[in-house]
Symmetry: C2
Subunit: 192 residues, 2 copies
Amino acid sequence: MPRSNRERTDATRTVLLDAARKLFIEKGYAETATPEIVAAADVTRGALYHHFPDKKALFWAVIEREANNVAADIDAHSAEASSAREALLQGASAYFDAMAVPGRTRLLLKEAPAQHAIDNGEGEDPAEQGLKIGLSHLLAGSENLKLLDPLTSLISSAFEKAAIAIDCGGKRADYEAAIAALLDGLIAQPRR
Amino acid sequence: MPRSNRERTDATRTVLLDAARKLFIEKGYAETATPEIVAAADVTRGALYHHFPDKKALFWAVIEREANNVAADIDAHSAEASSAREALLQGASAYFDAMAVPGRTRLLLKEAPAQHAIDNGEGEDPAEQGLKIGLSHLLAGSENLKLLDPLTSLISSAFEKAAIAIDCGGKRADYEAAIAALLDGLIAQPRR
DNA sequence: TAAGATACATTCAGTCTGTATGTTTTCTTA
DNA sequence: TAAGAAAACATACAGACTGAATGTATCTTA
């Protein structure tokens, strides 16, 4: 059965990404060898190195696809919120929902940072952007608005830690409550 | 010049740990090959594999030594505090001081978690213990005390993120202020 | 349909890890 | 203090993996 080049490329890339995703989740990046990936995908290493410059490029392609899926999931479940506080809490809930897809936490919050540490020194995290906007509304009128950037960074890391903890069996309700407590504390408070 | 076995062992282990530490900081664990380490330490791979079961064991020995040094540094600079809030802020300052030693942030907050992700699923972090105690005092009388464990976990991750940000050039004063803002927000507040 | 481009397969060179074995130095004990 | 044991270290090797080079089949297009 003849297939167009576009179809062949799409199919091969997809089976490679799927197989790599599965193995990276199960065993991690370093412990997964390319012969194993291509065997699972039922192609050869030639195909892999035709479509990706190297093993890392395949990994980042997996990560990018997963991150896009997370963003799409969050977008799909976003509704109107009555306040900045509600918007952030709903965003948190949507985030935890999205990260509940098996493997996502491992891929995006464990494997990806692990590989990132090697080469890059942390550059503008796009995932923090939404949180930063929400926080800027929450902190409007508060002294803490001056600390928007560092607070965004710290809260973001709290979100990630919460997702990891939930993935490891922690009670989601507890972590959502803890996140809420952190956010509520930042709202303008009377200094007595 | 004759040396006792104990002296030989200590000396060899030390030069290996020092060389490995330097290279792990510069290039990361995965990118550092054992031939490179032993060359820098001026011993052979035989010596390395005599003293350590494998490359990972050497890595964890480096990490353990560094973590002990951090704990010792923090202990050395701990003073009496007049309140739970002050105790936590002083602890934060001591932590950031300790993590300011070049390479520590990379080793303990980037490389170690990266390797940890592979095999282990996060087990009781001893570094969180001190924070948990401090938080338990801060939250005494607050509704948030119920959330002590998750809050400890999230605040801890905020500390780590702050240390990383500072290590990457962020302004320490800003992150200390942000940490203070997070902690202050957790203190019992009037719900209006 | 011929020529070139693309997709894929196979082979190969270099490197790395961990093990097995050999050699030297220190320790023990008779 | 001499000889055997044990520890410390060095060397050699086997297996595996990555990435590049090269070869072949399939598709596209003029």
